[in-house]
Symmetry: C2
Subunit: 339 residues, 2 copies
DNA sequence: TTGTAGGCGTTATCAT
DNA sequence: ATGATAACGCCTACAA
């Protein structure tokens, strides 16, 4: 791999490496003619500074690390899109890591990012992460960290999520207002912040309408292939008159299971995740959704991070920014489950 | 960022950096006691070798670059999953770049990957890439490159795709066998290999059944938001009795447009892309699909790449590996468009 | 068995 | 205006 270096240019032009370096960085104290010569030659040979050498020297990489549980997930891939757009506009590159919902891999992954001298980290916590000391330590070492989506208040960092509470509240309220009382809540593992927030929104809505909270209507599902179906069966035994699923995957799994059992669904609300409105519109039976602003979350999180990285003067305000969700109501024609 | 280096260990233990280095790499020519001491100390301080320094020294990075048009795309995100799994198991890391379907960004992106000393590249070409000399040049410099999904025979590299011809043939044949004769083909930009292959499969099936190829039934759509609808309208004017869409996105766009116009669909086949079978199963109107083995494509492509990177001895067989697709037939109840 | 020196590509400091 | 030198963290040939 015959990469051309500053040395090559220096040799060819009978200059010292320092002169070449200065010429390329357009230093003022350099002869205009020399400068022209160097720049021309560099261009002709398509010289590119070695980012690795620069990283070693400057102890930074112009790379930010993005750590997500899964890439193959509509929400996260759209978030990454937003992050990448912002990073790109600032001349940074993005390196993406997956934790596969494993705490151990999250730790390894964070170590890797740090070892590779990422200038900052954007993290969405794995579902098995309850302890964030590994992140606290980095923060003490002044590494800029921003959490998004799955956040933690154990960590004093800026965080960006959707308004999960509000979205869940609206979804549940809608179901109540259309006559449902026994609303099943199918949700993701309990540790994650979004689960808690969505559950709280659900409970608050029940509260508001004087409907008692019934624990037997709430079920947590992991990320396994065949976990959803038995849980739906289980919930059906509680004779619910509506389903409120906390994610795309669960909502789809739920629909699938119900269809299989030939159960007509009055209305199912999938909270959070149906960024892909196109799909939701075409689903049968139809399903109302709460749309999550994935792109915006990514952009805003990235902007927060760059504020920390570049404007070191500003003290990062460690607080959670919540971006409003948007509810899309799709009425289904049947209501057979309604009491 | 108080990262601990080999120097720190040397100073603390009153040794030279070389001794420490050797001890850590478990060199045979080192005193067992010294070795123990060093390793223990390193562990206690949680020492991690600086990959950047290593990259600079060894002129390689243990990172492979993956270049895709879009991350936020079911197919690509699943492919990346497969790639990552293989890379991870070999101790490599993956850095992902998006070209956003732009030739210019593909070039920039490839340069970046090279500058960052990626040990190899996995590329799915952008839809606006017709010229691959930028890749040929790298190949001459011995950089291992493997193409996947969107390949090119201008480049003598191992390539991995789905059996697009076979999939399209099967899809079209199925439509013919169920009585259709005027099968509209809604497809992606013409430059890309997969478009050509799918079109060829479509034509071959028509041929087999003596149906003349009608150019007015074929339309290419770009990746813009609102491109699909007018094209579908256009196609409808040709009074087709079936649709064969060449991607997830187009198939969904097509369904959406038809639904909006209250047009009953006898059957639409979306070729290639519905990795997300769950969604396809729930769609209304239902739609047969050709499933693409995204994960396997990623894995196989990565394996090819590692063969080139590690077993430099083996001459990479520059040929296209085609992984079979799987067709899932979902019969729709209505057939109103059928002549 | 251990230490010294040089180099990977670049820039900053200090000469000249 | 330009050059020599050292340093970033690591490894390795060579010396001791």
């Amino acid at each position: 791999m015959d990469t051309i270096t500053i040395k090559d240019i220096a040799r060819a032009l009978n200059l010292s490496t320092s002169t070449v370096s200065r010429a390329l960085r357009d230093s003022y104290e350099i002869n205009a003619e020399t400068k022209r010569l160097v720049i021309e030659y560099a261009e002709r040979l398509n010289y590119r500074p070695n980012p690795i050498a620069l990283s070693l020297k400057e102890n930074r990489s112009r790379v930010i690390g993005v750590i997500v549980p899964q890439i193959a997930n509509n929400f996260f891939s759209q978030t990454i899109n937003g992050i990448e757009a912002v990073a790109y506009s600032r001349g940074y590159h993005v390196i993406i890591f997956q934790t596969h919902e494993s705490f151990e891999r999250e730790i390894l992954t964070v170590q890797q990012a740090v070892a590779r001298k990422a200038d900052g980290l954007l993290i969405s916590l794995s579902s098995s992460t309850s302890d964030v000391t590994h992140l606290c330590q980095l923060q003490e070492k002044k590494l800029p960290i921003v959490l998004f989506d799955r956040v933690s208040n154990e960590l004093d960092s800026p965080s960006v999520t959707a308004d999960n509470f509000g979205g869940a509240f609206a979804a549940t309220e809608h179901l109540i207002q259309t006559g449902r009382r026994r609303i099943a809540h199918l949700t993701i593992p309990p540790y994650i912040s979004i689960t808690q927030e969505r559950l709280a929104g659900y409970r608050a809505a029940l509260d508001k309408y004087g409907i008692p909270y019934d624990e037997s209507l709430v079920r947590y599902a992991g990320f396994g292939q065949d976990e959803v179906e038995p849980i739906v069966d289980d919930l059906l035994r509680q004779s619910p008159d509506a389903f409120f699923a906390a994610s795309d995957r669960l909502a789809l799994g739920c629909l699938e299971a119900l269809k299989k059992r030939n159960i007509a669904i009055p209305e199912t609300v999938s909270l959070i995740g149906f960024t892909n409105i196109t799909v939701a519109n075409l689903l049968s039976p139809s399903m109302s959704t709460v749309e999550q602003p994935a792109l915006e979350i990514g952009q805003l999180a990235a902007e927060q991070l760059f504020n920390m990285i570049e404007g070191k003067q500003k003290i990062p305000q460690p607080g959670i920014i919540r971006i409003p969700t948007r509810m899309v109501i799709r009425e289904s024609s049947q209501r057979s489950l309604v009491g």
